[in-house]
């Protein structure tokens, strides 16, 4: 069956238009029931959307910032690629940098795909291939917008998703092969492949999330899912505590089920870090969330978890070393992260439990989620009384004595990604004042690089955790459980105001926790835009960080704003793989609200989104290769992404040039004329230096050529208002965004008119914008 699909797809590409072939091959299960005509690019190969990619790359040009002058990928190297030099294989620096970006995106896409495959196999073995997909009952008709758009099929069962993953895996192999020495060399083609990797990644994320939503009963497009407890202080330390870390929820779900089977749901605390925590809380709201990825060390070292269960992705590679420090047994559950542990999958659970409890082994590998459930629960019950919450955090006296040994050598600071002034805080601590260290913890990403470099071996991160102990204990917040997909009816309600610009934008806070100045900045940004009645959505670590601050009234952002996909709503969509629903929402605006054909019609839908849907992704703490591939999936769809300053380490931006008028011309689909629409949106990928800069730019990047005058006036009001508040002056580029006088916000009309006059502004028309000549309705000539 899988092979059959592959062959047929090949045939389809070479004989576009012979739709019958596809319907016969893939159709047995799915196709006959989907009336919609097949679009031009079902299951696109790595070059099928190249024309679209090159079009957007013409406008948003890569700016490369190499990490170093060298390439060291093959044995002809190392090669010095400085300036105009080429490597022994002939590659130049732009080619090399774009190759690295592609590698990162292939890693990201492969990671989600492997996760999706693993999850799907597990769910199929448990529930069967015929298990129906259901992501929102009658509220969600378009269950898999990305799959429908990219593949041109409409999956109905878990089994149908296998065909999607077959395609995804094949594409990743082709993409990865292009990075081999002596293959692709042109930076533009690497970049086109980067977009392809991103699109493929979004497919994988969609498969994974709709499979688990359907089979595990996670919230189904629920605007008001339950509030979950989050924070280091939410765990009842009197009970045995099991901590789950990672992204693949089945082992954690089976722990929860086993606890319930034994009636122990109130006798054991089950909590999580990173996306497994999100998905576990979606599975059962009794689960507790500790926090984002950067909370791993502080929580493990606190000694609170009695058993640590890791699955896959974003787990510290030294998880076992850290677990051993606090005498907490570790259970690895994924082939992708075995931590060097013995495979005990086939051993009787009680034997494994005995070995863990007696300390015969510091951890085990168990590749059967059900068995993980049993072993984790039994071990936690037995080990908790023995461990007595043994912790790896020093007491205050030890801290002060340690600080006295500090040589002020600066090595810790020079190793710290955030350049935190640890030596000064140590000097204060040596005097008995630990506040400086406590304060640093807020900006610390918990990487422990400082400790590894300290010549006198001070456990610096642990010192900070001790210094901030009081605050940590009070860390108790509320987050809404991940809601999953966006309902069709929500899309219908907001489609028109978004496309016309009257809802000023959709802002998605996504990605990891590599923040330059702590997670509070994400919370502040989200609050600002929710207050301004943008649609605010979030996933992953960003969704958690947003929850971890309270307003003066003691409310977190999720308690303050409703959870719908609506103006002024703040929704937690879910884990990283739930990012698919954010892309899906943009796609559904084109298909459900605007009734554009969806099926295998990628270019047209992306063109629609780029020109009409004012959505912006913000990955303030992006660090991973997955974040890179998620972002690139958004770029191909025409959605700009802003990253925090650390995101400059992705080594390449995609920047528009506001003054380059030619690049801001689109076709007017009504007349075929080329019309200047201003730099909307100005950039596709860009790292902001500060939170203030990001906020102003978010407002700016929400503008789209299709905004109505009323919509543009609203968007300009927010842009100008934020610019004035944060910079104290009017932005000097307002004239680029005013097409007719009706675009000018009424309250500042005179001031703006004066500015326009100074700049020699001329009125332009508002077209029916498109970059695709084939969408021009009246062909000229």
């Amino acid at each position: 069956m899988k092979d059959g699909i592959r062959i047929k797809v090949g045939e389809l590409k070479s004989q576009f238009g012979i739709v019958k072939g596809l319907e016969l091959s893939i159709g047995e299960i799915i196709e006959e029931k989907w009336e919609e005509a097949l679009g031009p690019t079902p299951f696109p190969s790595i070059a099928d959307l190249r024309e679209w990619d090159l079009k957007i790359l013409e406008r948003y040009k890569p700016f490369y910032m190499p990490f170093c002058d060298l390439c060291c990928l093959c044995t002809m190297g190392k090669c010095d690629l400085t300036g105009d030099k080429r490597g022994a294989c002939g590659i130049d620096m732009a080619g090399q940098q774009s190759r690295i970006v592609l590698l990162a995106c292939c890693i990201g896409a492969a990671t989600h795909t492997s996760h999706a495959r693993h999850l799907l196999e597990h769910l199929i073995s448990k529930y069967g291939r015929a298990y129906p997909l259901d992501v929102g009952g009658l509220s969600v008709e378009v269950e898999a917008p990305i799959t429908r758009l990219v593949c041109g099929i409409r999956p109905e069962t878990l089994g149908d998703l296998e065909a999607v993953l077959d395609y995804v895996e094949e594409q990743i192999v082709h993409l990865l092969s292009a990075t081999h020495t002596g293959q692709e060399g042109a930076y533009k083609d690497f970049e086109s492949k980067v977009f392809h990797a991103g699109m493929i990644d979004h497919l994988a994320m969609e498969v994974a999330d709709i499979a688990q939503i359907s089979a595990l009963g996670l919230p189904k497009a629920e605007p008001n899912p339950p509030l979950i407890e989050i924070g280091l202080g939410v765990v009842d330390q009197a009970k045995p505590v099991i901590l789950v870390v990672g992204h693949n929820v089945p082992p954690a779900a089976d722990i929860m089920d086993y606890m319930e089977e034994l009636g122990l749901q109130d006798g054991i605390e089950l909590c999580g870090i990173c996306c497994t925590a999100h998905d576990l809380a979606r599975y059962n709201p009794k689960a507790k969330i500790i926090g984002p990825i950067s909370w791993q060390l502080r929580f493990i070292r606190s000694g609170v978890p009695d058993v640590i269960v890791i699955d896959e992705q974003c787990i510290r590679s030294d998880a076992l070393v850290e677990a051993m420090k606090v005498k907490a047994p570790l259970i690895a559950t994924s082939e992708k992260d075995c931590q060097g542990l013995p495979d005990r999958t086939r051993d009787p659970p009680d034997e494994v439990v005995r070995d863990l409890v007696e300390g015969n082994t510091p951890g085990v590998l168990i590749l059967d989620p059900r068995k993980v459930g049993e072993v984790a629960v039994k071990t936690a019950l037995k080990v908790a009384p023995k461990r007595m919450k043994f912790k790896a955090i020093p007491d205050v006296e030890e801290l002060i004595e340690g600080a006295k040994r500090c040589r002020r050598c600066d090595d810790c600071r020079r190793s710290c990604p955030n350049d935190l002034d640890i030596p000064s805080a140590m000097a204060r601590a040596a005097q008995g004042d630990v506040e400086g260290l406590a304060w640093l913890l807020d900006q610390c990403i918990g990487c422990a690089r400082c400790e590894r470099t300290c010549p006198v071996g001070l456990p610096i991160h642990s010192f900070m955790v001790k210094a901030a102990e009081k605050e940590i204990k009070e860390e108790r917040y509320k987050i809404r459980a991940g809601r999953g997909a966006i309902q069709d009816v929500e899309i219908r309600n907001v489609g028109s105001p978004i496309v016309l610009g009257e809802i000023p934008g959709v802002i998605a806070f996504v990605g990891c926790a590599n923040y330059p100045r702590g997670g509070v900045e994400v919370a502040e940004m989200a609050d600002e835009f929710a207050m301004r009645r943008y649609i605010v959505t979030a996933t992953g670590c960003a969704a958690m960080s947003m929850a971890m601050y309270k307003d003066e009234g003691g409310k977190t952002i999720y308690e303050k704003y409703p959870g719908g996909f609506d103006a002024g709503g703040v929704s937690n969509v879910g884990s990283c793989i739930s990012n698919a629903h954010i892309a899906g929402a943009a796609i559904k605006i084109a298909s459900i609200f605007a009734k554009r054909r969806l099926r295998a019609n990628y270019e047209e839908i992306a063109d629609y989104i780029l020109n009409r849907v004012g959505a912006v992704g913000v990955a303030w703490g992006a660090m991973s290769q997955k974040a890179a591939s998620i972002a690139s999936g958004f770029w191909r769809l025409g959605i700009p992404v802003i990253v925090g300053p650390h995101g400059s380490k992705y080594r390449r931006m995609l920047l528009g040039r506001m003054e380059d008028e030619e690049s801001w011309k689109v076709y007017d689909a009504r007349t075929g004329d080329k019309v200047y629409v201003g730099p909307t949106p100005e950039h596709l990928f860009y790292a902001a230096e500060t939170k203030d800069e990001a906020m102003v730019t978010i407002a700016k990047l929400c503008m789209r050529p299709n905004d109505t005058p009323r919509g543009r006036a609203i968007k300009l009001t927010h842009y100008i208002d934020l610019h004035r508040r944060l910079y104290g002056v009017m932005p000097d580029d307002v004239y680029l965004y005013v097409r007719t006088k009706a675009d000018i916000p009424i309250t500042i009309k005179d001031e703006v008119l004066r500015l326009l006059e100074e700049k020699g502004w001329r009125e332009t028309v508002i077209p029916d914008p498109t970059l695709l000549p084939r969408l021009i309705r009246v062909q000229k000539g």
Binding site: P66, T82, M93, D411, S415, T453, L655, R657, E689, D692
Partner: protein
């Protein structure tokens, strides 16, 4: 710590490393020799405003005395404008960098491309990457870092120096330019 090692220990650049500005006079001579210099001030220079002796004052002096227009990144612009500093322009750091890379950019004033770009106050790693982008892709552009950390991807950089010494260095540079 050696003065001309990268400030962030792991940020090792490759074969082409910045020349060290051994003393302020050398920087002054380089700036005087430039036909079209530009100074780009980032967010961290603005944070120095809180210091007793704000480096920013010296940077303004350098800009005025040396005839070096001062531009700001978006991360710095607000505070500078609020303080009444006359800026040649302001943009996100990434946008300025991308334009500096492009030899056909006519500059903030439209008078033609810059031949020397002085950077100060970007977060170290952002400065690192931007200077690398310019080193590899901006033909004919000389870059100079006036931060208190060695920036190996610049053409010229100050060494790693303590804050006090840095303030003195920047002050001495301003004075050298004022002396003409």
């Amino acid at each position: 710590m050696r003065q001309f090692e990268p400030w962030q220990i792991a940020e090792v650049p490759g074969p082409k490393k910045a020349l060290l500005i051994p003393k302020p006079d050398v920087a002054a001579a380089l700036l005087k020799r430039s036909r079209r210099p530009l100074m780009i001030v980032g967010s961290e220079a603005v944070e120095e405003l809180a210091a007793d002796e704000p480096v920013l004052e010296y940077l303004i002096q350098i800009s005025t005395a040396g005839g070096i227009p001062m531009a700001a990144t978006m991360g710095a612009a607000g505070r500078l404008i609020g303080r009444g500093v006359k800026l040649a322009g302001y943009m996100p750091a990434m946008e300025i960098a991308e334009r500096l890379r492009d030899g056909s950019w006519r500059g903030f004033d439209g008078e033609g491309p810059y031949d020397l770009a002085v950077f100060v106050g970007l977060p170290y790693y952002m400065g690192w990457l931007i200077l690398s982008g310019l080193k590899h892709f901006a033909k004919g552009l000389i870059t100079m870092s006036l931060d208190r950390f060695y920036q190996p991807h610049a053409t010229w950089s100050l060494p790693n120096i303590p804050r006090d010494e840095w303030r003195k260095t920047v002050k001495a540079l301003a004075e050298a330019l004022e002396e003409g």
